[in-house]
């Protein structure tokens, strides 16, 4: 992080409008500057930090695959799973990663439909992040079945055993939801990339780059006869991705909600999971974009305004998540169902200091996980009520890291604390991860980072054509003077005519 920025974004005293619009691209940059800035990252020499980080990430990813190989060869017994905890880190990690994957589609689809123009600076990287997070997520349900060579049983294909999958099972819904989500996200991302790949193709100086970018640009000519279908396709993809993004995490939550386990059997799960996914996803977007913007000097494109609005979304969704936590607890209390009450109070909430004494119950075995989740997810984002906090990148980064950790704990709390004590006390037990559990999970970060680093090295990480489209001079009725050349400071009055 290069510097702390607290930019004045108050109203301009000389402006005629009571609340002037904050420009989406600062310093009145020209289109050529935007092209040069973003493509320059891809075309320039590979930085040392990139090589170092990439090597570390690849090593971690290899450890992940080594652990998976060991697990497949030996059996799921190498994980800490046992009776009664039959789902633990595998499904926690799955839900964690797929949740992170939700911010990208939200930014590209929902914010597109609601005409939030600020999304243009961050949507490309967020969509890439979505894809890579879904790749990491997809690993776990695949391998947790144990006998991975039987995983094709999930697919409804005619086979010699004449056995078909149970279409009424949420686990099968998951297969369809996650694979649809990955396919649609990939297409959405690629469609968005086509014009920018054409930019890279037209600028490429060496033959290999020209061929490679040219191949994937599909011969894009930017003709308006193409743009009109392209824009329509983008709009339709946004329109169908919006219910899709809401459905995917709802379906993930059905894995739990349609069971009869106290703590899982809850109607609030779908909206609660979706809000949590958006919350965790935005935190991960900021976690990746703040360093990228500092390293590559993209402060004019990813402005304090962008960080500010994302912080507000984190605050909103974090508060919704907090409300859901409280409502779950209230429902358990109000239902007078002893098993529900047991899960929430005696398995999760009763910490040694306050609640166990207040309710006169024994200390909950996982109280630390529950309160870590509460503190990191609900309390830490509340600092974003203050503008100063939203404009201090160190505070923003720290809160995002808290949310990243907190959201993992949320899934751990939901999954493990609900099943570690079965209905009979004879079937009670604690879960402890093995080294295979830990390194598989740590390794997925390596996989995620390797893919993300490859992305920022070889593809434009900001949607060039979309950012150009939100410049003031992109408006065909723009009357003002052509903006000064790059490097000069804008006159706010000029930019806003």
């Amino acid at each position: 992080m290069a510097k702390t920025e607290i930019l004045e974004m108050g109203p301009n005293p000389t402006a005629e409008e009571p609340l002037p619009r904050i420009p989406l691209v600062l310093n009145n940059r020209s289109m050529a500057w935007i092209t040069q800035r973003i493509c320059g990252i891809v075309e320039g020499p590979t930085p040392i930090w990139w090589i170092v980080t990439f090597i570390i990430s690849v090593i971690l990813a290899s450890i992940c695959f080594a652990c998976i190989g060991y697990m497949i060869v030996t059996g799921v017994g190498v994980w800490g799973l046992n009776h009664p905890v039959g789902w633990a880190w595998d499904i926690t990690n799955f839900v964690f990663w797929i949740g992170i994957g939700h911010a990208g589609t939200l930014i590209s689809a929902v914010l597109f439909l609601t005409r939030q123009k600020w999304r243009t600076s961050i949507n490309r990287a967020a969509e890439a992040m979505t894809l890579f997070a879904v790749v990491c997520a997809g690993i776990f349900p695949g391998i947790h079945v144990g006998r991975i060579w039987m995983v094709w049983f999930l697919a409804p294909v005619p086979n010699s055993n004449a056995i078909w999958p149970n279409f009424k099972s949420p686990l099968l819904w998951d297969v369809f939801a996650v694979s649809t989500y990955f396919t649609v996200s990939l297409m959405f991302w690629f469609v968005g990339l086509i014009p920018d790949l054409a930019t890279l193709r037209d600028r490429a100086t060496n033959k290999i780059a020209k061929l490679a970018y040219g191949f994937f640009a599909l011969g894009w000519r930017g003709g308006n006869r193409q743009w009109r279908h392209y824009e329509m396709a983008y709009l339709i993809l946004a329109g169908i991705s919006t219910p899709l993004v809401l459905s995917v995490h709802s379906v993930v939550s059905f894995d739990f909600a349609t069971s009869v386990i106290p703590g899982w059997h809850t109607t609030i799960f779908p909206p609660y999971f979706v809000a949590g996914a958006i919350f965790g996803g935005f935190a991960m977007v900021l976690t990746l974009m703040l360093p990228a913007r500092a390293i590559y000097g993209l402060h004019d494109l990813i402005t304090p305004k962008h960080v500010d609005v994302m912080c507000k979304i984190i605050l909103l969704t974090g508060t919704i998540v907090g409300y859901a936590y409280c409502l779950e607890f209230f429902t358990a209390a109000y239902s007078v169902n002893p098993y529900e009450q047991w899960v929430f109070l005696r398995n999760r909430m009763a910490d040694p200091y306050i609640f166990s004494k207040l309710f006169d119950v024994p200390v909950a075995p996982y109280w630390w996980a529950y309160w870590a989740m509460m503190t990191l997810n609900v309390i830490s984002p509340q600092i974003f009520w203050f503008k100063k906090a939203r404009h201090n990148v160190f505070v923003v980064f720290a809160v995002c890291m808290c949310v990243n950790v907190g959201m993992w704990f949320e899934r751990f709390v939901i999954i493990v604390t609900s099943i570690h004590r079965d209905f009979l006390p004879s079937s009670w037990g604690m879960f402890s991860p093995t080294w295979v559990d830990i390194w598989t999970f740590v390794g997925t970060f390596g996989l995620f980072m390797s893919l993300f680093l490859l992305f920022i090295r070889f593809l434009p990480m900001i949607a060039i054509s979309e950012v150009k489209g939100v410049l003031p001079e992109a408006d065909p009725h723009y009357q003002g003077p052509k903006g000064p050349q790059s490097g000069q400071l804008a006159q706010p009055e000029e930019a806003r005519v």
Binding site: F167, P195, E231, E473
Partner: protein
């Protein structure tokens, strides 16, 4: 260029801003040209009307794509669950009361088929992929993806004459006009 007897594809004219090309497009449209296009770094708002183009028909394709997805999902689930391999889970046979359990997959496949039709339909309507096109023969054309706004009028247009169209483009205030060969 004099020695070359290659066929003329059309005339290309470069403009420098979205507002210039927007005004120019309206005049090209009013002049009655049919085979021409405007190449811009980003979709210029209102350009469809300025060029006299109709609304994209893509939406109609996608509607049918969605319906096919819906029917596929219904058949994929109902045929095995009701006929080939009836499975009673938790005392719930296939029937009107267990149908809601089939909705998630119906929903997902409707979305998936719609999305595939959207992208496939967009490629088909735009003629993509097409890696070679005469406009790329103009070396300056590549600037369209940076900050140039380009009008290309094809020689195949009945109103096209090499001199007349060049004069017309000059009147519109083009910064650079080039003959593009096939």
């Amino acid at each position: 260029m004099v020695a070359e007897r290659r066929k003329v594809y059309g005339l290309g004219a470069r403009f420098e801003s979205a507002s210039e090309i927007y005004q120019a497009a309206k005049k090209v449209r009013d002049k009655g040209f049919r085979r021409w296009d405007v190449h811009t770094p980003f979709p210029v708002h209102g350009m469809d009307a300025a060029m006299g183009l109709k609304h994209s028909v893509l939406g109609k394709f996608v509607f049918f794509g969605g319906i096919i997805g819906f029917i596929t999902a219904v058949c994929l689930q109902f045929i095995p669950s009701a006929i080939i391999y009836p499975l009673i889970v938790q005392g719930k046979p296939f029937g009107i009361y267990s149908i809601p359990a089939y909705f998630p997959i119906i929903f997902e496949l409707t979305i998936l088929f719609s999305a595939l039709t959207t992208v496939g339909g967009m490629f088909a309507l735009n003629g993509l992929p097409r890696w070679h096109h005469p406009v790329f023969n103009w070396d300056g054309f590549g600037r369209f993806s940076d900050d140039a706004f380009i009008v290309v009028i094809e020689a195949a247009d009945p109103k096209f004459t090499e001199l007349g169209t060049r004069e017309f483009l000059e009147e519109l205030g083009a910064k650079e006009i080039t003959l593009i060969h096939e």
